[in-house]
Amino acid sequence: MGVEIAVEGLTKSFGKQLIWGDVTLTIPAGEICVMLGPSGTGKSVFLKALIGLLKPDRGSIVIEGTDIATCKERDLYEIRKLFGVLFQDGAMFGSMNLYDNVAFPLREHTKKTESEVRDVVMEKMDLVGLLGSEDKLPGEISGGMRKRAGLARALVLDPEIVLFDEPDSGLDPVRTAFLNQLIVDLNAQIDATFLIVTHDINTARTVPDNIGLLYHKHLAMFGPREMLLSSEEPVVRQFLNAQRVGPIGMSEEKDADELEAEKDQELPPLPPIPLQIEPSNGIPRRSQREPGGWCRDNGITPPPGSFEDENAAVGA
């Protein structure tokens, strides 16, 4: 059914360098969230803090009543069984073939017999379209296949929370589109809480229910997809529309001179908000909202042309 993740006042620094401070957000149970941010803003660090691989300096991350930031190692290993994580490069164990990789969590944590393991593994391999490649070693397959195999392994224990670390990095647009569709379908199927860390704008615009934006060492904004896509806030607007004009520069922040120079530039109008990707079987997800619902409830007029079918793929 999915589990809520409540993050409060989370702060992390490496040495004296602050990565992000005072991040507070609640990732709602069963929904798809995307965490965005320019390169180097600590998105992956945030993800690792959520699974307890990195201890934050301050703050709490509460999952099912357990605070990951302070709990004991033993509890951490228990809590992690709720998670499925897709690492950037799949993080397959190089010494095992794909079948053993995917079967690994089952053999470790369940008392399933080998034939039951086989059924589950084959089902997940089928889900990610890797049937027939079970005997290959991770070194022998392409990056995209490794990623999908990593996804199969992440799903094998029926996790309540699935984290994706840049699922679209290094994939071609077609595979990215397929992967995004797969993510939406999976959410419809298993109802788990999904958190995707990415900087692919197209993914961010079309996949999630909620979007968060990490920028300049803090969480700039977190909220429903339509809220961020219709936001006039300079950082959010610049990033979600991949524009040069705005507070984000080549090196993290623009300096005062640069900002002054572009003060009078007309900001391009907000592009239309695309439709969210729907599950391929047509049955809406439990957490899915009606297109334009948020805008209507909050009295915001979406940019012209929003929520029209032909716009679904625009924005990349």
């Binding site: 992690r80 397959m92 164990f93 190089g94 690994f104 990593g150």
Partner: protein
């Protein structure tokens, strides 16, 4: 400025502390069931396969050099009959453990650090932890035990090959008599020497494996980080092993009085 200098000066202390804490973690995980027997066997086989031939090749000149050095000196004293005992003493007491230390840290340690380092930067270790498996229990403990086991075997190998090399050198090249070489074995050497060699090797294996695992698991910053980790692990192990070898020898001489011929 002062603080950055400070942190640079204090960094090695942090590493030493981290290494020690890591050692304690390994000690604790040693008793966690289920013991990874397969991994232990695979690793033992792997370490043996990368160290046996170099060890044998290093041991032959080791024994030969000792015979060469001692042989001519002893000849001047007119005590050729003691060449064998001197050779045994030198090889079993010191050359064995030292050659073992070199090979264990150079061949086995670097291989372990490279393996774990590569897994670390591919996020395999993170993935393992996320799957609820402690990599120390799963990967490090079997490696440490395998390394200790193989170190003891290597020490035996060096002793045998070194003494044999000394024999060949002494008897064939220096004209010593085979009987005298063999008969004098027990003149200075004693059984305790063999034991201390084995204990030394055991501890060398432990240190080399722990340092290698620690450096490998803390590798960072891409492929270069793995290279650095391997390099540092070999250097640190070398230094540690020579210091430990010295102190263990010193303690040994206090505990076991040298045999007087």
């Amino acid at each position: 400025m002062a603080s950055s200098l400070n942190s640079k000066v204090l960094a090695p202390i942090g590493t030493a502390g981290g290494l020690f804490a890591f050692g304690l973690d390994v000690g604790r995980q040693l008793f966690r069931r289920p013991f990874q027997f397969r991994e232990f066997l695979t690793q033992a086989w792997f370490i043996a396969s990368v160290t046996i031939i170099p060890t044998a090749l290093v041991a032959i000149p080791f024994g030969a050099v000792i015979s060469l050095q001692i042989g001519s000196l002893i000849q001047q004293f007119g005590a050729q009959s003691f060449t064998g005992s001197a050779s045994v003493l030198a090889v079993v007491r010191n050359a064995g453990p030292i050659a073992t230390a070199l090979l264990i840290s150079g061949a086995a340690g670097s291989a372990i650090a490279a393996d774990l380092g590569a897994r670390k930067i591919r996020e395999e270790l993170d993935a393992m932890m996320v799957l609820g498996i402690d990599p120390i229990q799963r990967l490090v403990v079997p490696r440490v035990l395998a390394c200790m086991l193989i170190a003891v075997f290597l020490n035996g190998l060096v002793s045998v090959v070194g003494v044999a090399g000394g024999y060949v050198f002494n008897v064939i090249l220096q004209g010593g008599t085979p009987g005298a070489y063999l008969a004098s074995f027990t003149a200075l050497a004693q059984l305790a020497d063999v034991w201390q060699g084995m204990i030394k090797a055991l501890i060398f294996g432990l240190i080399a494996a722990i340092v290698a695992c620690y450096m490998g698991m803390n590798a960072g910053g891409g492929p270069k980080g793995v290279g650095d980790a391997v390099n540092q692990s070999v250097v640190i192990t070398f230094m540690l092993l020579f210091v430990v070898n010295f102190s263990m020898s010193a303690i040994y001489f206090q505990l076991v009085p040298p045999k007087t011929g």
